[in-house]
């Protein structure tokens, strides 16, 4: 019983890391520009499909495709941000919502057109298969890898945000955009870079998600809710909040699937609604 509980905890934690990678970019950009980007998971799909294509068609090693997935998704988000998104920063929530849902629909259809509707998978290299033994238990090697990646990215982001000049600009823009502009910070440029970084991280998350949850054309819709829950519960613009929310969500989702499978996703939604009613600005949100 103890071993299985620990296993669920670990699997949930690994799933949480995945959710963290997928959603951290959205949290920061939402905090900065108040732009409701429901198409964030479409960027994750860019990364996922780049990895699938590179591994399956061109025979790249899996690890080498991860930077490619990051770059491709980041590039796509920069292009979209420069051409379309920036026109809507002052639009209403509803317009932003509709516009980005439109992007989701388009991307879902486009992937279905190019890749079909089957669930994609990639062969994993040998060292990510099998399991690792420690503390008298065995952990799936890939999940260990995922946890390491999540922790590393989280640490890197916190380092970037807390210690660098760019990070200070981003924090200033999240706290008070007008004041930051008044101080001469180029908020648009900071936002563009953050947006690209967030999109790239989502792409990385999409690539890493293939092994855990599979990748199909509807990924952008199916995981949108998870990502939004992480953002809304964690609080806008807070990396620590996203991390905590992602871990809680990942573990409760896993635990729900193991112990109460008949409830389905009911538990998750219930927790989300209750948390939002209790703390509308999220657990760690300032606003």
């Amino acid at each position: 019983m103890f071993a299985s509980a620990a296993g669920v905890l670990f699997d949930g934690f690994a799933f949480g890391m995945l959710l963290f990678l997928l959603s951290v970019g959205l949290s920061v950009t939402l905090g900065m520009m108040n732009f409701v980007n429901l198409a964030h998971c479409s960027f994750a799909m860019v990364g996922g499909y780049v990895t699938v294509s590179l591994v399956n068609r061109f025979g790249w090693p899996f690890l080498a495709t991860l930077p490619a997935a990051f770059l491709a998704a980041g590039l796509v988000s920069i292009v979209l941000e420069r051409t379309l998104y920036r026109r809507l920063y002052r639009a209403s929530d509803l317009d932003q919502c509709l516009f980005t849902i439109g992007i989701v629909f388009i991307s879902v259809a486009a992937y279905a057109w190019f890749y079909g509707t089957v669930v994609q998978s990639t062969p994993m290299p040998g060292y990510l298969k099998g399991s690792v033994h420690a503390f008298g238990m065995s952990f799936a090697a890939y999940r260990v890898f995922l946890v390491v990646m999540g922790l590393a990215v989280g640490a890197l982001l916190i380092f970037l945000l807390e210690t660098t000049r760019f990070g200070a600009q981003v924090r200033a823009a999240v706290d008070n955009q007008r004041m930051a502009r008044g101080l001469g910070i180029d908020v648009d440029r900071a936002f563009m870079i953050t947006f690209a970084l967030g999109g790239g991280l989502a792409g990385l998350g999409g690539a890493l998600a293939i092994e855990i949850v599979g990748l199909d054309h509807a990924f952008a819709l199916n995981y949108l809710v998870y990502v939004l829950i992480v953002v809304a519960v964690g609080g806008l613009g807070s990396i620590g909040g996203s991390f905590a929310a992602a871990v809680v969500l990942g573990i409760s989702d896993m635990a729900g699937k193991y112990y109460f499978p008949w409830l389905g996703a009911f538990l998750i939604y219930l927790v989300m609604v209750a948390l939002l009613i209790w703390k509308p600005a999220g657990l760690f949100g300032k606003r």
């Binding site: 809507l88 929530d93 509803l94 509709l98 629909f105 054309h217 819709l221 996703a265 009911f266 939002l276």
Partner: protein
């Protein structure tokens, strides 16, 4: 005071175009008798969009989970006909009451939120209800849909294969509910709602009971959505989980935005265009259908912010 009542009377004046429009809704009976089933689907969708228009277009409550009330009404009507009586008008009332109660209960939470939290909450309530219906397999039939819905004839008219009764019934309900919605919108209460939409802080400051107004309109809209759901159950004799799905909430939002929100007729015009277009390309894979919907959404937000009706009225005003 006199000027206020003159203002409301002017607002509520029935224009000739409106009379022509409602007369034109009778045309399918003679022109396209083989498409009456589609016409009744359009009327039901229009009713659903009209209900969303009340809260979104007039009160400014963005909802991504409006299908919750539609589905609640659909299941209420279905369960009533399965276990108790199949009389459609009773079912319509019961469904409206059930959805209204659900709407009133949730409105206490919904109206206190704005922005992202509101979007997430409406989405969350919608998903919660869909999951609950899926889990409660014994009651709702789960993914297999509700079996054994039996609808008795409406005032002696059977629901036939051609959809003649279905369309007459749906259209009549749409028209009556539309009249009620029109009356609500052109009342001082409706004006207060628009005030809240335009400035949520100023309305309470000038003494309007903002939250109570919002709760009221949310409940009214839920009743209307529930009646639309009941119509769908009764005219098709089935209920599936799809009535509660996120897709249905998104579709009705697209329909309303396409037609033009906050204009009463926007939802109806949007429903006609959307449903006819979908019927025309029904052979198309739904995935590709959503490609066009997505493109349409992007285009409407970018170029036609007030929908088709908004664009038309702008064109109409320009030459003057």
């Amino acid at each position: 005071m006199a000027s206020a009542s003159v203002f409301f009377r002017q607002q509520a004046r029935i224009r000739p175009l409106e009379i022509a429009f409602w007369l034109a809704t009778l045309l399918p009976f003679v022109l396209t008798p083989s498409y009456l089933s589609l016409a009744s689907q359009i009327a039901i969708t229009a009713l659903f969009a009209l209900s969303l228009d009340l809260i979104l277009g007039y009160a400014g409550i963005v909802s991504l989970g409006h299908a919750a009330y539609f589905g609640c009404g659909a299941y209420a009507a279905g369960l009533l006909s399965k276990h108790y009586i199949g009389e459609p008008l009773t079912g319509l009332v019961v469904a409206g009451v059930a959805a209204g109660l659900l709407g009133y209960a949730t409105s206490h939470v919904i109206v206190r939120f704005r922005h992202l939290a509101l979007i997430m909450l409406t989405l969350g309530f919608g998903l919660l209800l869909a999951e609950a219906a899926n889990s409660a397999h014994d009651l709702t039939g789960g993914a297999d849909g509700l079996q054994g819905v039996r609808i008795s004839p409406l005032l002696g008219f059977k629901f036939d294969l051609y959809g003649r009764t279905a369309y007459a019934y749906s259209l009549a309900v749409l028209f009556l509910v539309f009249l009620v919605a029109r009356r609500v919108i052109h009342s001082p209460f409706g004006l207060a709602l628009r005030g809240i939409r335009e400035n949520a802080l100023r309305m309470p400051a000038i003494g309007a009971p903002s939250l109570a107004h919002l709760r009221k309109v949310y409940t009214i809209a839920a009743v209307m959505a529930g009646m639309a759901g009941a119509l769908l159950t009764q005219t098709t004799s089935t209920v599936s989980l799809e009535v509660l799905s996120f897709g249905r909430s998104a579709d009705v939002l697209v329909i309303l935005i396409l037609g033009g929100a906050g204009r009463l007729y926007g939802g109806i015009v949007g429903a006609i265009i959307y449903m006819v277009a979908r019927d025309q390309v029904s052979g198309m894979n739904p995935q590709y259908w959503y490609f066009w919907i997505g493109l349409l959404l992007v285009a409407v937000v970018m170029f036609l912010p007030n929908g088709i009706l908004g664009g038309l009225s702008a064109l109409h005003k320009k030459p003057q």
